[in-house]
Every structure is written in structure tokens, then in C-alpha cells.
Symmetry: C2
Subunit: 353 residues, 2 copies
DNA sequence: TTGACATATGCAAGCGTTTTTATTTCTTTT
DNA sequence: AAAAGAAATAAAAACGCTTGCATATGTCAA
């Protein structure tokens, strides 16, 4: 009895049933319901103008009714574009990089891209592995952040057809795009300001000097500034350490022992550590010691005393990098693959007025 | 003449040419070169054990030689798994969320997933839009961070078959997974500590009370602590503001005018702002004013005085959320969809010893 | 040996789109 | 009213892989 009733309904419900049971509505379902071909539905979905308004309307209604959502994976396979870009970042939880990341994502969203975010810890191995992984996922482009670009990595970059932009990272030969500030000049200005205040022993506090941004840009700027002020360059005043709060704190003692009275620091976290370390030892900033940091992140503002800083427009570097990448992906004409953004120095309380 | 020469070579070079010219090596190329079927290559690539070792070796060699990389998009279409999860985050550049994100990505990597990161600014509209976008990209799961879950959003969650985990966000009915600490107890303990030090007027400084985490958890804990100490609850001591450094600074004046001598603050950035604002007005912390913050991020450590804080294990919350999501995606048995991680209070210099 | 099973491999049908090519339907123009 | 061209639509072949099913090969006990 029950069975026969069910059977009676079966043929009638067949189509509806199909829709209910199948978890995913496809372009084919829409086409059938709207009485057009898949091609037409595709055109409607993609905003192709070659569709009669009446047809468009009809299709749109069915899409609405069935709650159809195009499958981006199938699209990606057919069109060979994923509208996704890979972002390789040393560490998202570092405010310097996360500021860049935010700029990247905002512009990405603006151009209808999504970002796949992958942490590398700045590890050469992981960077390559992560890059290959992203390429396997068919990202349309890659934004790379990292202090240091190995030959192996550069090799991978050029081996693939996928466009790459370096955000706040320096590459000797500019095969790929990149967005930076002029680190050499910025450093020079900062050190100049310190020299103007009469300091004789100005420290250069940095991460690894092997990283081109430190060794080939900032250090040069530091040296030039010293030279122009007739100050002698001493290796003893160059401190190579990690980009960590703790490292900065620990450095305080050593730095004081060298008779240093001013420092240029390449990283905010490090700079805050040093500031706190000095303050804890009774040093008055800026009276007894002046200090300039480099990233103008929230940390520079929050620290007490607040820190005078080079202002790298972090968000903007990210945003411009992504914008550049969109052009590259779009095969547009690029006037200049390497863009240099302006920097300034924000005076706060870690230097005298 | 030239033409005929070319023609002569064509048949000979045909296969090689194909390989050179076609930018992408496919599974088909590997199969042909190795003299096996695509299915076998697929099995090798996917580590399926049903392949004779000799065959496996041969295929692997060809893969190596041709530098073949499986196309994850095609794989995704065929297998209906993308090994990608979506992460909806209010703002990556906020250290609270980026700490969570780092935990998420590390565990994701561990389980061979990638994350698509999307900023929502905590905006209800954007959250839904971003979610739909991620679902269109066929992510295998979603991790959501946000202060506040609208009905619309909850609707989208339950409408899709894709598993969702809330990281450090509260949902009344637990249809989806979530990972948190016990905000009520944590707040209660913090306020209790302040009360123990004899404070009569303890402020509750928060973001929007409409966010369940504030209004339904923390505020309750605050009230309970007051009650147990026979202190009267006054609306005037509840401050609702934004999670921003500036807001905290500006709050200092108002808070002093209310005769407050201690505060529990729900966000580190806000807390540092308040601390600096108070200090700038000559208030001595902790002698004249005690303060406890909530996230134990780097900021709490960096601030001077350093801030006593509830320690939410941010990284762990992210990591556990992702781990939970892997189980959900894998359809494993889950003992408990809602996991509550332990918290502690880290005493620093913004409270008396 | 042979039959019975297990193991290894191949075949081909999807997966849900885009896109090229072909076809149909409208407009014009004369 | 017919021819020609433009506009709208349909048909079907990719895209690069996975996977169920069929087939082939190998192994062992009887």
C-alpha cells in the first residue's frame, strides 16, 4: 500500500527529487530549468554582453531560484585562471608582515582575487616547498616577502611562467617585480639626524647582514652617513641579532659597554626591546641615549618613550605590490617593474626635539 | 627550401616539440613516457599501495625527468577535495587575530592543507560575502573568527555541508565547532584579583556589549565577581569603546573622572592605550591604578609598565581549531564539538605584587 | 596443471566549467 | 521578398585529474 503510493509519485517527483538530493546545483541544472544551453548560462554568469536581455532575465531568475553558485574549481580548470594569488610570508603574527599582508588582501579583494597565505619562517627550504605547493594550486601570481632570496628560489621563480612580486624584499637582478622604499637613503637620513645631535658613537642594530636589505642597503647608508660626518666606521658598533623583543632587551648591556649613545635599529620589536632594556638600566631616553627605529608600526607608537621611526608605508607597500601583480597577471604594459615608495621620518620621543 | 627542411623534421620532432611547447606537463605525458596508463600514474602520485615497486620506480623516474607537478585544480574537480580551508578574519594586522592565524596555518600545513585568508573587518555584510566566495572556491572547511555571529551568517553556515569551526568566537547554539577559553571565569578571576587589592571602583572596559563574548560572558563574570565581593554594579563603570590604541588613550580622562582606581580591559591594544593615557596624566601604575588586560599578546609584555594579563593561548586556540576542523572534514567521531582551553593570569607590573 | 584468489594495471566515465565552432534567428537593405 | 550580415544561441570538445569497474597477471594450494 505504502509502496504503491510512493511509486505513484515517483515519476512526478523525479526532477524535483534530483534537485533535492544532489548536493550541488550545476550549470547544467540551470540550463535545463531555464530552457537554454549551458553556454548561455555561462555567458550570463560571466557578464558576456551577447545575451538577449529577456534570456538573461530568465536565466538570472532560475539561478536565484535554485540558489546556483558557480564552482570556482571547475572554472579554474576550464579557464586556467583561479583568481587566487599565493602570498609567502615569513610570519603572519609579526606585525611588520601582517601590515603588508593587509594591504595585499585589500587590493586583492578589490580586483576579485583571493589570497592563499603561507608562512615560511624565512626558511630557505620551506620557501621553495611552499612556492611549489602554490604553483601546484595554479595560483595566478605570487607575492613573496622574505629577507633573503636564494639562488634556488630565484631559479624557481624564473622557471615558472607565473608572475611574482617581491614586497619589501630586494632582489639583485630584477627579473621579477618588487616594491620597496629606498632603504639606503632612509638609513642615511636617520643616522644623519643622530649625527646632527652630536653623537660620536652611533650603533647600527640589525638582523643578519647577509640579508641584502641590511648588508647591501642599510649598512651602506649607515657608512655613508658616518663618512659625511667624519665619523669613523667601526665593526664593533654593528650589532647583528634576531628580530625579537628579547634580543633587544639583551643587547642593552652590550651596547652600553661600547660607549654607544645613539642607535639606529632596523626592526620595531627589536627597538622596543632595546628601549625597555636601556630604560630598565636607568638610562634616560632621549636625554642619555637616542634611538631611531625603522618600521613605524603600532609598536613604535605604543612604546614609552614612543619611538622616532623611519616611516615605511607598510600597508601601501603591500597594496602596491598586489596592484603591480594584477598588472603582471593581466599582461599589461609595465613602465617600471621595480617601484620605490617614498619614506619619511616620524619624530617621536626617542630623539631630542 | 627552408620550408621543405622544416617539413622534413616535423614528424620526427613531433612528440618532443609537444613537450617543449606545451607549457604544462600532464599526467598523460607521464603515462605515455612511462608506458603505463594514467590511472597508474595517478596511483603512484597518490601513494596508492596497489602498484608494483618496479612500476612505481619507473613512473617516479619519468615524473622526475619531466618535472611533472600534479595540477591541484584538476585534482580538486575530480576528487571534490581541494585541501584548502577558508579562514575568515576581522583583520590580519591585529596581533590578536594574527596570532590565531599563525596557529591555524601551522596545523593546516601539518595536515597538508592551505589556507585562504580573507579579511572581513568584522562587517556583517562582508562576512557573508566572503563566506560565499570561499564556498564557491570549494574549500573543504572554514575557520571563522569574529566577535559576533549574525543569524544570517549562522543560516549560511548550516545551509552548506562544509564544516565550520569558530576560533575564539561564541555561538549560542553549537551547531558548528568552536574553540575558546572560559571567558566568564577568566574575567571573574581578574576582577576578583582587583577586588582583593581593595579596589571599590573597578571599571569594565570593553568593545561592543552586543558581542556575546563581551555581553554574555565577560560582563557576567564581572558582575559575579562584584557581587561576591559585595561591590555594587554601576553602569557608569562599564565603558564600551573600540578595540583601538587611540580609544584607550582617550578613555583615560573619562575613567579618572569616575573615581575609578582599577580596570579590567578586554583588549591589549586598548589596554596599552589606556595605560599610556593614564601615565601621561601623571597617574602611577600600579600604585594609583591597577589594570588587567585579556590577551597576553606581545603588547602586554612590551608596554611600560608591562601589563598583567589573562593568558588566552592564542596560538593554541588557532591550532586546536584547525585540528578540530581536520577531524570534522575527515568525518571522524568528535567527542566534543566545543572545546574550552585553560587560561591563567600572568602577573606583571600593572598590578601590585 | 588447474582453479581460485589476490594483486596489478588499464579503460573510460565523470567532475562542472569555458570556449570554439556551428547553427539558428533577427535585422537590414535593396 | 530575398539576400546578406549581425546577433543570439546551441553543441560539443576541451581542461587534467580520480575512481569504479573490468581485465590481466601472478601466486599458491590441491
Amino acid at each position: 500500500m505504502i509502496f504503491s503510493e510512493n511509486d505513484k509519485f515517483k515519476p512526478i517527483m523525479k526532477e524535483e527529487e534530483k534537485l533535492m538530493e544532489r548536493q550541488t546545483i550545476t550549470i547544467y541544472d540551470v540550463a535545463r530549468e531555464a530552457g537554454v544551453s549551458m553556454a548561455t548560462v555561462s555567458r550570463v554568469v560571466n557578464g558576456n554582453p551577447n545575451v538577449k536581455p529577456a534570456t538573461r532575465k530568465k536565466v538570472l531568475e532560475v539561478i536565484e531560484r535554485l540558489d546556483y553558485r558557480p564552482n570556482a574549481v571547475a572554472r579554474g580548470l576550464a579557464s586556467k585562471k583561479t583568481t587566487t594569488v599565493g602570498v609567502i610570508i615569513p610570519d603572519v603574527s609579526n606585525i611588520f608582515f601582517s601590515s603588508l599582508a593587509r594591504g595585499i588582501d585589500d587590493v586583492a579583494t578589490m580586483y576579485k582575487y583571493n589570497i592563499i597565505l603561507a608562512n615560511s619562517d624565512g626558511d630557505d627550504q620551506k620557501e621553495i616547498q611552499v612556492l611549489n605547493n602554490l604553483l601546484a594550486k595554479q595560483v595566478d601570481g605570487v607575492i613573496f616577502m622574505g629577507m633573503h632570496i636564494t639562488d634556488a628560489l630565484r631559479g624557481e621563480f624564473s622557471r615558472s611562467k607565473t608572475p611574482v612580486v617581491l614586497a619589501s624584499s630586494i632582489d639583485p637582478d630584477d627579473q621579477v617585480g618588487s616594491v620597496n622604499i629606498d632603504y639606503k637613503s632612509a638609513t642615511k637620513e636617520a643616522v644623519q639626524l643622530l649625527a646632527d645631535h652630536g653623537h660620536q658613537n652611533i650603533a647600527f642594530v640589525s638582523g643578519s647582514l647577509l640579508d641584502p636589505i641590511n648588508g647591501k642597503e642599510r649598512l651602506i647608508g649607515y657608512k655613508e652617513a658616518l663618512q659625511e660626518n667624519e665619523l669613523k666606521y667601526t665593526e664593533g658598533l654593528v650589532f647583528e641579532t634576531k628580530y625579537e623583543y628579547k634580543s633587544g632587551e639583551q643587547l642593552a648591556e652590550r651596547i652600553l659597554n661600547c660607549g654607544v649613545t645613539a642607535a639606529y635599529v632596523v626592526d620595531d620589536e627589536l627597538a622596543v626591546g632595546l628601549t625597555n632594556g636601556l630604560t630598565d638600566r636607568g638610562i634616560k631616553i632621549p636625554e642619555d641615549f637616542e634611538l631611531i627605529t625603522s618600521n613605524n608600526s603600532l609598536l613604535a607608537e605604543i612604546a614609552r618613550p614612543s619611538l622616532t621611526s623611519i616611516s615605511q608605508p607598510l600597508y601601501d607597500i603591500g597594496a602596491v605590490s598586489m596592484r603591480l601583480l594584477t598588472k603582471l597577471m593581466n599582461k599589461e604594459e609595465i613602465d617600471e617593474k621595480t617601484v620605490v615608495l617614498p619614506h619619511t621620518i616620524i619624530q617621536r620621543d626617542s630623539t631630542k626635539a
